[in-house]
């Protein structure tokens, strides 16, 4: 039986198809302004027996394709646990939200926290800040790690942080140090969320921001423990949805 999971996020859409426990298809496309058309493109030529949608566009998909849905929380919990069977905490930072999920010993969601309505501390924040400093998002993390020290950025609001960055630039501060400071500010916010659900055990980091090496290293440093990242952290939600479709 072929089971598919599709994760319609604010920035990207991922599709994972599994058969007999193995991933047989893995695709990604930008969400753009018309997620359903993008979804159709992504599904082109794919065959599956069951499909479950997740992500913020799941409601649209449910109506357009008459499919079942699960929340990102459940999908990420399931996906992360499949990659790391002892995971107890999942940190997912996507394009427009971030969440922390505590799992019980059977992998069920015990408690979760999500960021508030704005994009503070999410992928979108890092993306805008990278642009403000003239970095490509793919290299933002690696470049930031080259900084010798880390400047303190106080604003968590994307709009305020951008003005703060501008004022630091005009003060002649090093752009790498500003960049590292921006990463550190996101990490501080995430640590706050992790503390609220009293994190314990193995921590899995998923979502697009998990691809950022600076984020991974600063998090590991702050938590004094190893952060587990799946090979392709953006696929965790879709993979989890595919697994749930098969259950």
């Amino acid at each position: 039986m072929k089971c598919a999971g599709i994760d319609i996020g604010s920035r990207t859409i991922e599709l994972v198809v599994i058969e007999a426990g193995n991933i047989v298809e893995c695709r990604q496309i930008d969400t753009g302004y018309d997620p359903i058309s993008q979804t159709r493109k992504l599904l082109n030529g794919i065959s599956h027996d069951r499909i479950i949608a997740t992500g913020y566009g799941r409601g649209l998909f449910e109506i357009a394709f008459d499919s079942a849905t699960v929340t990102e929380i459940k999908a990420h919990a399931r996906g992360a646990r499949a990659f790391f069977p002892n995971a107890q905490t999942v940190l997912d930072i996507g394009g427009q939200d971030s969440k922390v999920i505590a799992l019980d010993k059977n992998g069920k969601v015990k408690k979760f926290e999500m960021n508030d309505r704005c994009a503070a501390g999410t992928g979108k924040f890092l993306e805008i800040m990278a642009r403000a400093l003239g970095f490509h998002i793919e290299e933002f993390g690696n470049e930031s790690l080259k900084a010798e020290k880390c400047l303190t950025i106080n604003s968590m609001c994307t709009v305020f942080a951008e003005s703060e960055v501008t004022s630091l630039i005009t003060k002649g501060e090093d752009r790498l140090e500003i960049a590292k400071g921006l990463h550190a500010s996101v990490v501080r916010r995430v640590i706050g969320m992790l503390k609220r659900i009293s994190v314990s055990g193995e921590i899995v980091f998923s979502g697009g921001v998990a691809k950022n090496k600076c984020m991974r290293e600063l998090l590991a440093e702050a938590l004094q423990q190893e952060i587990l990242v799946p090979e392709d952290p953006q696929m965790v939600g879709a993979f989890g949805a595919a697994l749930l479709a098969g259950e």
Binding site: G59, V70, I73, K74, D97, K108, F112, D116
Partner: protein, 425 residues
């Protein structure tokens, strides 16, 4: 709406264009949220009618009462005793505060970071769209939270007659003495307004009328213990909201009629949703009409609400007032005793509320608690954290929500609520 209403609204001083806009939004919201529900009890037709005439027929009744010499008193809080108002031959109505209106005007008078409920009460006044407020001969403000008590200082200049009632914040003997003194002062004020002295007989009768209304709500609440629940949380919330507007006797009769129907439904095991639907206890800030956002999100996410630990809900209606006294003083003491039990978050400490949440969770066989606070509502936001901790210590799944009346966070809230419902399944 008929032309009669338009001239009535105009006479009351409403801004007809703005009011039309409000009614259009309200009508659409009601259609989308209420009338789209499946398996509703037939008796809800009464409340559909009440809502369709909420600014029409009910206002006409109030205007007719006024013409017959009866006074209308408006209130923003459950601490304003309806018993005293009725005993002096006046009518008490809850005032509109459940939707954003004339926000730019409001923010000229109140800081942006004020809770949506307080802002809304100003918005309805400044936008001239609340016929209840405009019908009121006296508006009662009460010193509950800091936001409200400071806002009344400004509201004083906006309304015809604002009467401010002080309230205790501690459940001590001194606190109770303060409440008693304030209720006596209120009684005198109401008598002065109406020219009708309150007698033992009129007070007894008034207590009986209000108790009957509460007893009908108790009956409705009790039927929600059944699994599957015979009525949606949205519909039950509506009954609790209309409690503050409607003619008391007619309200009681209508709720009892719905209860008769629900008893038959329960006997047939007929519910609004299947038996395995996760059951939610909603706890926190009051939800005034038309603030249906969170209950609507919950009940369209595969759960059913089985109780409201709220002022628009069981916190306000939980107890009856003792009617056995034979002097004014005895009856006034009974009224003080009754309201002194209300476990509003303005009280410190407030252990009764924790106990009631747990008790309601068990009584209504809930599977989880969703704690709802309005953004910037310090008392409930502050309590939400120890409430969550205490409930989780009892292994009661809890979700804390902080929101306002805007629709911009609906997507986020839906994800949270759905994930919580998944957790309960």
């Amino acid at each position: 709406m008929s032309e009669d209403y338009r001239s009535m609204w105009k006479d009351l001083g409403l801004d007809l264009t703005a009011h039309d806009a409000l009614l259009a939004v309200l009508g659409k919201g009601y259609q989308d949220i209420y009338l789209s529900q499946k398996n509703r009890p037939e008796g809800m037709a009464y409340f559909d009618f009440v809502m369709s005439e909420v600014h029409g027929l009910r206002i006409k009744e109030l205007v007719d009462e006024k013409q017959a010499g009866r006074k209308i008193i408006g209130s923003y809080c459950v601490f304003v005793p309806e018993e005293i108002v009725l005993a002096a031959n006046a009518t008490l109505v809850g005032l509109c505060s459940g939707a954003d209106f004339a926000v730019e005007e409001v923010e000229k008078l109140l800081p942006r970071n004020t809770c949506a409920l307080i802002k809304s009460s100003f918005g309805f006044k400044l936008g001239k769209v609340c016929p209840y407020l405009e019908s009121a001969d006296m508006v009662v403000g009460e010193n509950t939270c800091d936001g409200k008590k400071k806002a009344y200082e400004t509201l004083n200049a906006l309304v015809k007659k604002l009467y401010v009632m002080d309230l205790p914040q501690v459940k001590s003997e001194q606190g109770k003495a303060l409440l008693k003194a304030e209720y006596n002062r209120f009684k005198t004020e109401v008598e002065k307004l109406t020219g009708v002295p309150i007698t033992v007989a009129s007070l007894k009768q008034a207590i009986q009328t209000v108790n009957a209304k509460r007893a009908a709500i108790h009956r409705l609440s009790s039927l929600r213990k059944a699994n599957p629940s015979p009525i949606s949380g949205l519909d039950a919330l509506l009954a609790n909201q209309v409690f503050f507007y409607d003619n008391p006797a007619r309200f009681t009769e209508s709720v009892n009629k719905i209860c008769d129907e629900l008893e038959k439904r329960i006997a047939r095991k007929q519910g609004v949703s299947p038996e395995k639907t996760p059951r939610i206890l909603l706890s926190g800030c009051p939800m005034a009409v038309p603030n249906w956002k969170l209950p609507w999100i919950i009940e369209t996410s595969g759960a059913v609400i089985v109780g409201e630990e709220s002022c628009v809900g069981e916190r306000g209606t939980r107890n009856l007032t003792d009617n056995s006294g034979n002097t004014i003083d005895d009856l006034m003491n009974a009224i003080v005793d009754h309201y002194f039990k209300v476990d509003c978050a303005i009280f410190t400490p407030n252990p009764d509320r924790f106990n009631h949440i747990t008790e309601m969770f068990e009584t209504y066989k809930a599977d989880g608690v969703i704690h709802y606070s309005l953004q910037f509502c310090q008392p409930y936001l502050m309590e939400s954290m120890p409430v969550e901790k205490a409930l989780e210590e009892k292994n009661i799944p809890t979700l804390r929500i902080e929101t306002d009346y805007s629709m911009e966070d609906v997507g986020q809230l839906k994800t949270r609520v759905e994930a919580f419902v998944e957790q309960l399944k």
